[in-house]
């Protein structure tokens, strides 16, 4: 999988680089074009502006030249006249002034007295010397620019000398010339602004066109930028809206191609990995691991194809696994060999819908032939693949047997508890009824109640002991146990039962019996259980023999009967919890299956053990060996 991811990332990165290169190549002309266009538009506007200004200036200059020439002609003409004649030229001066655009025009004599003027009121007045002409008068025309007037026209102050006939003093023609024709410059500026506005509009239009053209690519670029980190997994997210234009559609087609390529790559890699895994499973490490499982595993795909099965599954389903690679194509329906195999397949099919999909469920399958129970679990393997499942088959026979034994135990314990309880109640009511006043009957009632109470008590002790054994919390007391008293008391407790069943109960105690350290009550339970079993499973007329020997280090108690006997198979079984001999004759007797378990556990906790020697139908001998601890000197009985 890691290899697959790396390959996909490499492919996508290459693709991104290609896209980036394409983008960069497109970016240059885009921005260069934009800049050039902008420069062109600006330079065009500037050129137009400059040209207009120059044209305007030239035109003004030409006009001024013509005006000044006209003024000079007028001066020459006036010079040919006598002063008296000049003063009569007022109307002519006004005409000239009006035609040449002079706001002022006058002729003054040497004393700066106005001889003639465009303004009649000035004639005869004396003009002060204009500060602009403060210096020595030139023999040429002097022009002093006065700047623009309120209407934006260029104004110039001019003065030139003329020689008037009959006068020695120099006369001057003075005036103010408005050089530019009215409104010309303003008209040029407006035109320039229109040109510039046009240039900007053209630029904006071109920009919009370009932007529209490149918007798809810009969108792609944004996506690439934002998603480049997770590109391998989110290639789909790079799609842009088809409505963005032809380029965006082309891009989306490219994405489709990449996705398809990616899928093919994944399938190819996954297929290779699966093949590798299968090869491993047919003889590699994984197979060894899975074959070591106690459970049977089957991997089912496509509703019925057995993709994998471990050796336990082969053993359980009972068909021979083919050696060649095609073994992975075995179908569920191919399992016909074993009856049990067919059962498993039927159970799996029951958990399968009509469309071949599996549902996760648990089902028990019974193997009547071998008395086994299997728990079949169907588990989903991958999300979205309902036609694929993992079937796990676990042998739960032991658990089922344990559950059954426990149920039987509860049932038996209930029965065992109720029996003495029933007797106690019945005999107690007999006493309290007052209907039976025979002293012997009354005594018998008391005896039965006492005996059944002890029986009940021992039973409860047994149940407690087995609970403690199960919980691992059994505690032993450190009593000093008089072995002779212990054994004698145990025999006395069961004497009544032996007499009832007409069984010969004998006791053979060694002369040397001392004391040992141990839990007196629990050891009494051991003896009672051994004797109780011997009497229970020995028919009337039989015999039960109890022997007890004791050395300085070991105590040996033997309980021998002439009863049903125990088969070799049952000899280990009878010591297991809740288990009884698998013998119909034994089953006839009630029992909980805890007596011998408790007895052996108590013996073992005292450092000893209990063994059984028996043959079916030949009676049984139970031997309890126990080390003697802190023994007091043996009491030797004489006689």
């Amino acid at each position: 999988m890691r290899k697959l991811t790396g390959q996909v990332i490499d492919d996508v990165q290459n693709f991104v680089e290609r896209i980036r290169g394409f983008w960069v190549r497109e970016e240059v002309p885009r921005w260069m074009g934009f800049c050039l266009l902008a420069l062109f538009a600006i330079s065009l506007a500037l050129t137009a502006w400059t040209a207009l200004l120059q044209a305007n200036k030239e035109s003004s200059r030409q006009l001024a030249r013509v005006q000044y020439r006209a003024l000079e002609c007028m001066g020459g003409r006036l010079g040919s006249l006598a002063e008296a004649d000049i003063s009569e030229q007022g109307s002519a001066i006004r005409d000239i002034s009006s035609h040449l655009g002079c706001s002022e025009l006058r002729v003054i004599d040497g004393q700066r007295k106005v001889v003639v003027s465009a303004r009649p009121e000035e004639v005869g007045t004396t003009r002060p010397t204009d500060p602009n002409f403060a210096g020595q008068a030139s023999e040429w025309m002097e022009v002093v620019p006065l700047g623009l007037d309120a209407e934006g026209r260029s104004r110039s102050l001019f003065r030139f000398p003329i020689s008037v006939r009959g006068q020695t003093a120099i006369h001057f023609v003075e005036g103010v010339l408005t050089s530019s024709p009215e409104g010309s410059l303003w008209t040029n500026q407006t035109a320039t602004m229109w040109v510039m506005a046009g240039a900007i509009a053209v630029f904006l239009g071109l920009y919009r066109l370009m932007r529209k053209h490149y918007r798809g690519m810009a969108c792609i670029a944004d996506h690439l930028e934002a998603k480049s980190d997770a590109l391998s997994e989110q290639i789909e997210s790079l799609r842009v809206a088809d409505s963005l234009g032809a380029l965006a559609q082309t891009w989306n087609t490219l994405i489709d191609l990449v996705v398809e390529l990616q899928d093919k790559t994944q399938r190819s890699t996954a297929s290779a990995e699966l093949k590798e895994a299968l090869q491993r499973s047919s003889g590699g490490e994984l197979a060894e691991v899975l074959n070591a499982l106690p459970d049977a595993l089957i991997h089912v795909t496509d509703g019925s194809v057995l993709r994998y099965f471990n050796s336990k599954a082969v053993h359980l389903l009972g068909w021979n696994r083919p050696k060649d690679e095609d073994s992975t194509r075995v179908s569920l329906d191919d399992i016909e060999a074993g009856r049990l195999g067919r059962k498993f397949v039927d159970a799996i099919r029951e958990l399968q819908g009509p469309d071949g999909s599996f549902r996760s469920a648990v089902k028990n399958v019974e193997d009547e032939e071998h008395g086994s129970t299997y728990r079949l679990r169907v588990l989903s393997v991958r999300r979205g693949r309902a036609d694929e499942c993992l079937v796990v088959m676990t042998d739960i026979s032991q658990q089922v047997r344990a559950d059954r034994s426990r149920e039987e135990f509860v049932s038996q314990v209930t029965h065992e508890l109720r029996t003495p309880l029933t007797n106690i109640r019945a005999y107690a009511e007999t006493l309290s009824s007052g209907m039976f006043d025979d002293p012997k009957v009354v005594t018998d009632c008391y005896n039965v109640i006492t005996k059944e109470t002890r029986r009940l008590s021992r039973l409860i002790e047994d149940i407690l002991s087995i609970s403690q054994i199960e919980a691992g919390s059994m505690q032993l007391l450190e009593d000093v146990v008089d072995v002779r008293a212990l054994v004698s008391e145990a025999v006395r407790d069961v004497r009544g039962l032996a007499d009832e069943k007409k069984i010969d109960l004998q006791m053979d105690l060694s002369a040397k019996l001392g004391t040992t350290q141990g839990d007196r009550d629990k050891l009494a339970v051991v003896l009672n259980n051994l004797l109780g079993n011997a009497l229970k499973y020995t028919p009337s007329g039989g015999s039960v023999h109890l022997g007890c020997k004791m050395s300085e280090t070991e105590m040996l108690i033997t309980v021998k009967d002439t009863g049903l006997g125990i088969s070799a198979e049952d000899q280990t079984r009878i010591f297991e919890k809740f288990q009884r001999a698998d013998d119909p004759d034994v089953q006839l007797e009630t029992g909980t299956g805890i007596g011998l378990t408790t007895a052996r556990e108590i013996a073992r906790r005292h450092g000893g053990d209990i063994e059984v020697m028996s043959e079916k139908g030949q009676g049984a001998t139970f031997v309890m060996r126990m080390p003697v601890k802190n023994a007091a000197p043996a009491v030797v009985l004489h006689g």
């Binding site: 509860v410 049932s411 209930t414 029965h415 109720r418 029996t419 309880l421 029933t422 007797n423 106690i424 109640r425 019945a426 005999y427 009511e429 007999t430 009824s433 209907m435 039976f436 009957v441 039965v448 059944e452 009832e500 006839l588 007797e589 009630t590």
Partner: protein, 124 residues
């Protein structure tokens, strides 16, 4: 006076039932298992049976099934059981017309029931 058969493997229970029934003036036939009871029933006609369920050789259930199929469909039977699966027993003896009682039980109440069953005149 009626003739009553007791089938009970526990000696103390057998004895106390016997005592109470005898005290009520009935003749009591004691058996220790279903097989022995069947043998007695084959030879002797009785008026009522008091039986345990769990017994060696033949259980009370088998005894009553045999009785109903082979011997009598009306003979009153009282069955006493110390097993915890009373429902299962009831299912096994359904249709056998048996009065089933769990142990422990009250002997005096049992006697009342015995008298009631004996007082009903049933055709043989």
């Amino acid at each position: 006076m009626a003739k009553i058969l007791i089938a009970e493997d526990d000696a103390h229970m057998l004895r106390i039932l016997s005592m109470w029934l005898a005290r009520n003036g009935h003749e009591v036939l004691e058996t220790r298992d279903g097989q022995a009871a069947q043998d007695v029933l084959s030879k002797v006609d009785v008026d009522l049976i008091v039986s345990d369920v769990n017994m060696p050789r033949m259980s009370g259930i088998e005894l009553v099934q045999w009785l109903r199929s082979k011997k009598s469909k009306t003979l009153p039977v009282i069955m006493l059981s110390s097993r915890c699966d009373q429902d299962a027993i009831a299912g096994q003896i359904r249709g056998c017309n048996v009065n089933l009682h769990p142990k422990p039980f009250s002997p005096s109440r049992l006697m009342v029931e015995v008298e009631q069953l004996l007082s009903v005149d049933v055709p043989a």
